[in-house]
Amino acid sequence: MVEIFIIPLVTAFLLAIFIRNKKVVWPLFLISNLYILLKLWTLFGKWEIEKTIYTNYELFGAKLSFTLSNNPLGWYFAFFSAVITLVISVFSLGFNQKTKENVAPIWMLIIFSNLGIFFAADWITFFMMWELMGWTSFFAITNGRDKALNEAKYYLVLSLLGASSMLIGIILLGALTGSFEIFASAYGLVQVFYSEKALSIAAIMLLLFAFFIKSAIFPFYMWPSKVYAVGPEDYITFMSSVMIKYGIYPIAMFIVPVVGSLDLPKILNTANWIQYFVGYLGAISAVLGTILAIFQTDMKKLFAYSSVANMGYILLGFASMNIVGFEGALFHAVNHMVLKAAIFLTLAAVIFRTGESEMHKLGGLVYRMPITFLTFLLGIIAAAGIPPLNGFGSKWMIIQALMSQKMIIFAIAMIFASTGAFMYLFRALASIFLGQLPDRFKDIKEVPLTMLIPMIIMMIGMLLIGVVPGVVMKPLTTALRAVGYNVNIASWTSLEGALKNSTIDLTLVFLIFLGGFVISAIMYILGNKSETVPQEDNYTGGEYPEEWGVNADRFNYSYSFYQPFKEMFEPLLEKISIDEFFASIGRNFEYMSATVQGLFRRGEGAVLLFSIGVLLLILGGWII
């Protein structure tokens, strides 16, 4: 248990020492991740392992202690994030040959805090790890590049604000329940909820605020698009797949059990207001994330908004307060980890070869990077939630739960978002990989082997989880049982829904799809032969424009892909701009800053201000 915390720290230190030597750094990074994964593997089932550090530091009359415990739900998240991290670190091996900066030591610190967040048994430890993750990711995003500074600053501000709100929330919680331990405080909060209603709700809301920020839920949905667009691509893969789940884990761990145990009045016989609150934010995130993703031209931004939408689904799963929805949400967390990692790896590969992240400047890369294309294809099929890949099962469970709880608005929002997902996912596919290959990318090659292997692994992973969901569902249900939920251990192949007669067998779905494929393939083979012809041949009507001295026009329809649709939403999006709101706050602070500096630049008002101060003290403190 302790080793997995010491190893990252030691590795981070070593990486910092050897930072200039890329041949040492990334293999070391890989080995360390491998070790963590293996160690986590052995920890499965040993839920009683616990390590406490006692201090003499007193807060509210009790001595603080820091506890790390192998809690099942935390293990579930930690293990799968470790798998993803390992795969990404293989990718980094090849990816970082060209880059000048080196993100490895900071990244290792983040991995440390990652494990800390998932294994923390008390809020103080949790908070410490949370804060560590916040500022380290600032440095990881900027990675010493000035162009990333503004975006990273935006992330940092949100992150610190979230941490501050969480600090107050934790303090409220500790004072209310007399314990900083997560489980004890959850139990205590349920006990005191009715007598200390306002404070309890405040504590829950403050914590939710922090979690929502980290998971990019609605009012804070802007940061992924900003950050992902500028950060180092391999690290961004980690961020979009693993780090965005940091808000999800504590909600599953703390908020859902607490709200689930409370007996709040139900609105319209369906759900209580906290469920609605969480659900509406989730629904808005899902819908807004989808709509915004549809309009992006930068592929990293597009998938950043897609992450926002996916976080919205997960939140909807929680909001259903139904065991199927809960399982679905947690399942989707891992599915999203896998598929987002796959997608971002391919994006990183594309950027590695082309240096371009604007989709309309790309096109036709399928001719040059077929494996990358295949990974991407499977990734978007999974992201769209189409069987037989892995995004489907979890989305299906969440929709089932929403339908069984009669949460109609949420269900419709979910369908809207996942149908909208086809739009943006196809846009990315068509713009990056399909269409015509621009001349300047004629000579690029497929990425090297170290980068291909991770992508292939991710492909296998997506297919495996999609066809045999038990790979994830078994550990998940085992963990939930160990935590104390009354769930059945899932079978390897099928998923259980919340409605009547709704068990589906994903392996069977896969087989049926194969059947369809066979029929289709037969039809294909039955047809007459086909001839492979260059694209321009059709396009130019069989002429060779080179003959008359011009180049064939390589036009891809990809810049304003959904222009009519965008025009429909333009008025809405122009009026409501959270981004503009945040930006104006930032600007106001900067104006204020200039004012304050002007005040202090003048020296001669000193005595006047002094006198005013004394006058204030006398007026306020003495006379009144």
Binding site: N56, Y57, W135, F139, G144, V596, A606
Partner: protein, 486 residues
């Protein structure tokens, strides 16, 4: 232990000697400072603490006395160590004025910490402002002369107010001895106590850099040399904090060891505190000059300190001590780093220091650690202060809650500008000619490691703090020590 007077007298003698020694002043400065450190550490380990020294044999309420208690010795060591650390940043040859003023400052800050008499305290404060003004103006250029003059005018005005307060105290209580005042303070009616405190506090707040008493800070920091910044920060600032702790909590305190002001007064003080925090952080947000940034930031930190003190709970006070030590160490690291970097880059604008962190990672990492500690990030010393203060503020009342929220927001702003600077250090920069000797990287690194150590292992510092808190909790021990009729 009558020899305690040496701590004050020897620097004063040295101040005279330095007029004649010329280039040997530096050696003298080191010798005297080392003497002060060693002497105070010897006192610390002599086992005789607490003890009381009556000057000239006049017993406590009548004569001036120097009392050495746990709180005193803690701050004494801090002040003297600060003096030594700040001296290490003096590289070039300074003229005698510098050292002379330095010795006066050393003597007066030691005096502030040691003395047990209100008027004596006032004298030392006056002396220290005098010395600081001299040190600020040492550079003799436009900026420094103006800054020094303005500082001097402000602090003279302030000292006049505190003199009025001293007069009032003498008029009402008939004594100027700390212990005696503390003993008799219950006889004072609320109104007189408030007036006295108002007049006295306002002069202390000037040293504490609390808005609106702090107009001098930024200019003075900007105008003076780094070593002088460190003197102001490490010696004057620390001694000022000691003065506030001693006077507000142990002398003019009706309730044991707590800040007892009439309701409005403490609210206004708290208001001042968090307005200072906000103003300090906002002022630093878009600033480019590192020295100004650090000035704004130390303003804000002292605002947090005052906020913690005015909360009136021992837990918060513990937090205050953490903040004090974190700020003390962190600002040293930062000023030293800025000093080195500005020498290489030839400017104090942080944008010109681009890329230096890659060449001198130790310095830049130390800077980052200090910045994180000031922000109150876990694993660094400042966190334990922040959590304690915020934790106590949240439940104390509406104003306190607002203050806590504002302080948290301020720490976010602090994070933005400090980490931006750290980022600039680590970003790609151009090649430069100057070099920084590795020796100079050592000291910031050690201090940063201390911050990290306290942050990871609060136990190490918690024990010291509990001793200090014990003393603040029971001022009657102090009274008994001084007024004991042997």
């Amino acid at each position: 232990m009558n020899s305690i007077v040496f701590l004050i007298v020897i620097p004063l003698i040295a101040a005279f000697l330095s007029l004649f020694l010329g280039k040997n002043d530096k050696i003298l400065a080191y010798i005297v400072t080392l003497f002060n450190i060693i002497f105070s550490i010897l006192i610390l380990f002599s086992g005789k603490i607490p003890f009381n020294v009556a000057i000239g044999g006049w017993r406590a309420p009548y004569g001036i006395n120097y009392a050495v208690t746990d709180l005193t010795i803690f701050f004494l060591v801090l002040v003297n160590v600060a003096a030594l650390l700040a001296l290490t940043s003096v590289r070039e040859i300074m003229e005698y004025q510098f050292y002379s003023f330095y010795f006066v400052l050393l003597s007066s800050t030691n005096g502030i910490v040691l003395t047990g008499d209100l008027f004596n305290f006032f004298l030392f404060i006056e002396l220290s402002t005098f010395a600081v003004a001299g040190l600020i103006s040492y550079k003799r250029d436009r900026l420094s002369t103006g800054a020094a003059l303005k500082y001097l005018i402000l602090s003279s005005t302030a000292s006049i107010f505190s003199l009025a307060a001293i007069g009032l105290i003498y008029k009402t209580l008939g004594t100027l001895n700390f212990a005696d005042i503390a003993n008799k303070v219950n006889n004072l009616n609320e109104a007189s106590l408030s007036l006295i405190l108002i007049l006295y506090i306002s002069s202390l707040l000037v040293e504490l850099k609390i808005f609106p008493f702090n107009m001098w800070v930024v200019k003075a920091y900007e105008a003076s040399k780094t070593s002088v910044n460190l003197f102001i920060h490490g010696m004057l600032g620390t001694a000022g904090i000691y003065g506030v702790l001693r006077i507000l909590l142990m002398v003019f305190s009706k309730e044991t060891g707590k800040l007892t002001l009439s309701g409005n007064l403490s609210s206004i003080l708290m208001l001042f505190a968090f307005v200072t925090v906000i103003i300090g952080e906002i002022g630093a947000l878009t600033e480019k000059n590192m020295k100004k940034i650090l000035a704004f930031s130390s303003m804000a930190q002292l605002g947090i300190v005052l906020f913690g003190i005015s909360l009136g709970s021992f837990d918060a006070l513990k937090g205050v001590l953490y903040i004090v030590i974190s700020n003390y160490l962190a600002k040293f690291v930062m000023f030293l780093t800025v000093n080195e970097f500005s020498k290489v880059s030839g400017s104090t604008n942080y944008l010109d220091m681009k890329g230096l962190g890659r060449r001198y990672p130790v310095l830049a990492i130390s800077f980052t650690i200090s910045a994180l500690s000031l922000m109150g990030i876990p694993f660094f010393a400042g966190f334990w202060g922040k959590i304690s203060i915020i934790g106590n503020a949240v439940f104390s009342g509406k104003l306190e809650l607002i203050g806590a929220v504002l302080i948290l927001i301020a720490s976010v702003i602090e994070g933005v500008y400090y980490l931006r600077i750290s980022h600039t250090f680590f970003s790609q920069g151009h090649e430069r000619e100057g070099r920084i000797s590795r020796v100079y990287c050592l000291l910031p690194m050690i201090l940063a490691l201390v911050i990290l150590f306290i942050g990871i292992n609060p136990d190490s510092f918690e024990n010291i703090i509990s001793i200090l808190l014990d003393e603040i909790k029971s001022p009657e021990k102090y009274i008994k020590l001084i007024l004991s009729l042997k």
